[in-house]
């Protein structure tokens, strides 16, 4: 499966400043593994403890993978995978449960 990956500004230093990458993989995790081979260091920005990092949103087409199958979400040819930094914050660090 070939998918287009949209890279946010904050991660572009790792992808030689490219905004879009064409990557193969049958699942989100496989795409991330393949990106890691080409752009070492990107995986640890996206995954922690086997799950997508809570500082990051990952979407397959229009869907946040938190509400589908997470990193196992399967991909079809031509899908788009969008990575965005989660925008969040608050007043009390102790109350962060995500």
């Amino acid at each position: 499966m070939q998918v287009t990956v949209h890279i946010p500004t904050i991660l572009r230093p790792l992808t030689e400043n490219q905004k879009r990458l064409t990557i193969t993989g049958f699942s989100v995790l496989e795409v991330i593994e393949h990106m890691e081979e080409r752009y070492p260091g990107i995986k640890e920005k996206l995954i922690t403890g086997g799950k997508a990092h809570h500082f990051i949103n990952i979407y397959v087409n229009d869907d946040d993978i938190r509400f589908t199958d997470g990193l196992s979400t399967s991909l079809s040819d031509g899908d788009s995978l969008t990575i965005l930094p989660a925008v969040a914050g608050g007043a009390e660090p102790a109350l962060l449960h995500t």
Binding site: D62, D64, R66, A86, E92
Partner: protein, 153 residues
């Protein structure tokens, strides 16, 4: 990345809109962005965001709305110039959580206090590699001269 001008220049109407939204959402934390043309450092288009956390002490942009808004910005050659939220019962200064999540190195992070004991003025910050720098807020009733400068630059 270095930040050249440590100052937020913003239209008075946009400031009023943020404050009105923050008080309307109180005691829930309000949040949103103001987009502007890439590279111009001028906030123009205010987009209130849904706080998916629905909390008085935490906010998170609704992920689906965020995707749509970010796609719109890309299509219009815009970027987030201001990222704002309110503090409902603390001072208008970035919390540790705010700093941890701050990912837009060029954005102005604006905080609106909605409890009057912490004042009624918005404050603006740059957040870079965990470092918080407060900046001056310059309010304008017209962007005309700013536009002319941006066109020349």
């Amino acid at each position: 990345m270095e930040v050249k001008k440590i100052m937020l220049t913003i239209h008075t109407k946009l400031v009023e809109a943020m404050i009105t939204q923050a008080h309307k959402d109180h005691p829930i934390e309000t949040c949103g962005i103001i987009a502007g043309p890439q590279g111009c450092n001028l906030p123009l288009r205010l987009i209130p965001m849904r706080n998916a956390a629905r909390s008085a002490v935490f906010f998170k942009f609704d992920p689906n709305q965020q995707l749509q808004v970010w796609r719109d910005m890309e299509a219009r050659d815009e970027e987030p110039i201001v990222i704002y939220h309110s503090h409902t019962d603390t001072q208008a200064y970035p919390s540790r959580t705010d700093v941890k999540f701050a990912a837009e190195l060029r954005a102005h992070y604006v905080i609106i206090p909605t409890n009057p004991i912490y004042g009624d003025e918005i404050r603006s910050f740059r957040i870079c590699d965990g470092m918080v720098t407060e900046e001056r807020v310059r309010m304008l009733d017209s962007y005309k001269s700013e536009w002319e400068l941006a066109m020349v630059a």
